[in-house]
Amino acid sequence: MIKVYVSSVIDAPADAVWAQIRDFNGLPKWTPFVADSRIEGGMAPDTVGCVRNFRLKDGGVIREQLLTLSDYDFQCTYSILESPMGVDNYVATLKLTPVTDGGRTFAEWWAEFDCAPEREGELAQSIGQSVFQTGFDSLKTMFRR
């Protein structure tokens, strides 16, 4: 089991950032690497259990299921059902915490998964930096004061 953890500070109140994040179908709106996304079976994107089916700009298709959505904790957890990444038992959580000093947001994003031992370093790097950090960088730009 590998764990990847990335955290950042976004210069906007947590409820504003959460409004972007909580839309499980909203990746194309705030990440630079997702081309399009849809929710399978016509479910609402904030229904726990719904599945998002999205296509990366490099062509890969990923299906992820929403496992937890908490408007109280500003937190969502999801798993990967299908992806070209070669990971098993992948569960990720994105969590926001208000920084009361300055009205900013502490953002955390972490994942646990299994993979072939020789790919651990490469996957930890690509998920941590190319996905999570890139996502945070995009939010930071979006909310720049």
């Binding site: 955290s7 500070v9 000093d101």
Partner: protein, 490 residues
């Protein structure tokens, strides 16, 4: 039940913030409302269950007990046992989290308690604003001033208005040549830009490479320009996007390009490391270049293992002595070459089992003789051209020839077939490539400090010169009138 939550981002790595907060009795040092505090019964202040008894500046008295402490999760939980303010069933938890993009720390501080009717708002405000927000500011101020030397620097920094150059002077090579080309000149230190720091330097290391640079053998500067590869001092101010250093930090560096012979310097923060409290600045200035060189040569370029035979050229020189001391501790058999009987004694006293004395670069037969004809597993060669043939002869099969310097001139071209004769590995490493990334620099620096701390390597600064006498230091160094490190004091 009342719940109070406050959180902040502190511009310092989590390790530094946690080192302060995990100590249950540290709050007198950093919290502005705490007057006096002691741990009851003389227990350690990180003992779960210990009780701190303290008074606030407003006269209130409080006893609190540490309920949980986690170095893994950076959590401290505590409760009030009794207090002269009516906070009932008060339990608080503070937790730190790492901000991975930028080496900052997120600090979350939360408590629940009951209060007498009508006083809820007043007490919640006292806890949230007075204790927690006051604590954030207090800790920030504490981190800024807590490094030794911070007070004096803060005073100096105030004398330098923000955004202005700081008056300073330096020793400049006005042309390539002998020591006479060195001149003292005013060299103001400009304000640090993004990613930079400004350092008030207190000690500067002198190395033989400085002589080569001054003479124009190593074209690392275009005169007029200051010399010097390493120094130590205290941070005056930091530019944007610098998270790992604060004004008042004691620091040191060894890096290219030259420019260390100055009283104050503005430079990339990535090349600067914080000094541990037990390493003074003179020692650091004498240690960084040679110590980190020994560290990467023995642990990265070639990983020396117990039982290997190591041949160290110039074994009584600055790097040579460190290599002997450290390689011996790693369990290697150390053979060295030196130019005199005095140096042989010095090398032997520092871990070199067999010092070979000579000035003719003839050592291969003796190395073979000392190893039953096998030869050396690794050669640390700062000699260069004059020792090429003998080095190849002195190496064992599959041996590693590490050429890290060239006092006798650059290596002549060596073809692959020459190496194939013994399956020799040839490395031509440069310190600054190994320390180009800050994580690697930090690792090598910490390894060096640890070697100093455990006395694996020893630094004995005997030759001190004012910065203004840099030319005299060069003359003494070139005339071989010195043993051990030289430092300049700005």
């Amino acid at each position: 039940m009342i719940r109070v939550t406050r959180s902040a981002v502190i511009d310092a790595p989590i390790e530094r913030v946690w080192a302060v907060l995990r100590d249950f009795n540290s709050h007198t040092a950093w919290h502005p409302v705490v007057a006096e505090s002691e741990i009851e019964g003389g227990e350690p202040s990180d003992q779960v269950g210990c009780v701190r008894r303290f008074t606030l500046r407003d006269g209130n008295r409080i006893r609190e007990q540490l309920l949980a402490l986690s170095d893994r999760d950076h959590i401290s939980t505590y409760c009030i046992l009794d207090a002269s303010v009516p906070l009932r069933r008060y339990v608080a938890t503070l937790q730190l989290k790492r901000v991975t993009d930028g080496e900052r720390t997120f600090w979350h501080w939360q408590s629940t308690f009951d209060a007498p009717p009508g006083r809820e708002r007043e007490l919640a405000d006292m806890v949230g604003t007075g204790v927690y927000e006051g604590g954030f500011e207090g800790l920030r101020a504490y981190l800024r001033r807590s490094r030794p030397g911070a007070v004096g620097v803060a005073a100096r920094a105030r004398a330098v208005a923000a955004g202005e150059a700081m008056p300073a002077h330096g020793v400049v090579a006005t042309a390539f040549g002998g020591p006479e080309v060195l001149r003292l000149q005013p060299l103001p230190a400009r304000p640090p830009g993004p990613g930079e720091v400004r350092i008030r330097q207190t000690a500067v290391g002198v190395n033989y490479i400085d002589v080569y640079v001054r003479a124009g053998l190593y074209r690392m500067i275009e005169p007029p320009a200051p010399l010097g590869m390493e120094a130590a001092g205290v941070i005056v101010d930091v530019g944007d996007a610098v998270a790992h250093l604060l004004p008042g930090d004691r620091v040191a560096y060894a890096c290219a390009p030259p420019g260390a012979y100055v009283s104050a310097r503005t430079m990339p923060a990535d090349q600067v490391v914080v000094l541990p409290d037990d390493v003074d600045e003179e020692t650091a200035a004498a240690l960084m270049l040679k110590g980190m060189t020994a560290a990467y040569l023995l642990h990265r370029t070639h990983r020396v293992r117990a039982g290997e035979t190591v041949l160290v050229h110039a074994a009584a020189g600055g790097v040579g002595l460190f290599l002997c001391q450290w390689a011996k501790t790693l369990g290697a058999k150390v053979i060295g070459t030196v130019s005199s009987d005095d140096k042989a004694r010095l090398a032997r006293a520092n871990g070199c089992e067999l010092p070979l004395v000579g000035r003719d670069y003839r050592f291969a037969a003796a190395v073979k003789g000392a190893t039953n004809g096998r030869g050396a597993d690794v050669i640390y060669d700062g000699l260069g051209r004059a020792a090429v043939e003998e080095n190849l002869e002195a190496l064992a099969l599959c041996g590693h020839w590490v050429s890290y310097g060239q006092t006798s001139g650059p290596l002549t071209p060596i073809g692959p077939e020459t190496l194939a004769a013994k399956s020799v590995t040839l490395s031509r490493p440069v310190l600054f490539h190994y320390t180009a990334e800050r994580a690697a620099l930090n690792e090598i620096a910490q390894q060096t400090f640890e070697a100093l701390r455990s006395q694996v390597i020893r630094v004995d600064v005997r030759h001190r010169y004012p910065l203004t006498a840099a030319a005299e230091a060069h003359r003494d160094l070139e005339a071989r009138r010195t043993t051990g490190p030289l430092v300049l004091l700005p």
